[in-house]
Symmetry: none
Subunit: 147 residues, 2 copies
């Protein structure tokens, strides 16, 4: 089963709703029950996991030791921003203001397929990010992918 891929620039309406591109929607397993979990991602974008993928992450989390001080801190930081949403009849999900603000998203969003999950960015911020990284892309590729 292929993962999420491609990108799309979609609008965010007054109620904070963002449509999931249909070509990404059909990549979701039926086990996700049209449900996604949105949370803070790295580099100030929003990560969105289909429910079944999220469950696997939760399992990893619950395997941590809840009596360890450090682990507790991580779990709290991790669960804090997670928000379970269901896709409405028109293929949209509602996102909470705090998440949108974290990602700096206002009227427009860039949706990025990234294998197991989606990323939602403020388009401008993504450009800036790319530009900053572009310089070392080849170096990075060699370093990360090189055998």
């Amino acid at each position: 089963m292929p993962g999420f891929k491609g990108q799309a620039t979609y609008s965010v309406d007054g109620k904070g709703r963002i449509a999931i591109p249909s070509r990404m929607r059909i990549c979701m397993s039926p086990e996700a029950h049209n449900t996604l979990v949105a949370t803070r991602g790295f580099e100030q974008c929003i990560f969105v996991y289909p429910l079944d993928e999220w469950m696997e992450i939760e399992e990893q989390i619950s395997a941590l030791n809840p009596y360890s001080h450090k682990h507790r801190a991580f779990i709290r930081r991790f669960m804090r921003w997670a928000d379970e949403v269901t896709i409405d009849a028109k293929g949209r999900i509602p996102l909470q203001r705090p998440l949108l603000e974290y990602a700096g998203i206002e009227k427009t969003s860039l949706i990025l397929g990234n294998q197991k999950y989606l990323e939602i960015w403020d388009p401008q911020r993504f450009d800036d990010y790319l530009e900053a990284e572009e310089a070392d892309y080849e170096t990075l590729a060699a370093e990360v992918m090189g055998s």
Copy 2:
């Protein structure tokens, strides 16, 4: 079945009642019978377990050795503050003053979903706690979750 997640800042009314966010309420198993058990948690916050989860904890506790001095001490501390409450028609639970005082909660509370249970914090105290944890999130993530 996914666990509790997300956060919410809710008010505490004059009678010590705090609403449980509906999106967390629906995560409760019907076996909990709309009943929760609140008790002292770690880091000076309140832990709130759905009744069915609490039962499992009690089982673990009763498996401890009552003839061990240490075990007895632990059991007493743990059971002492436990308080069984039911969710009212508006989705709220009443919390005893001593618990609220322990957590330093007055007019506002931060409710945190933490998989099997909820945590209720004084918002300021939670901020301080996160700040005091020296490591930043990404470092922790790589450390705790990295394979």
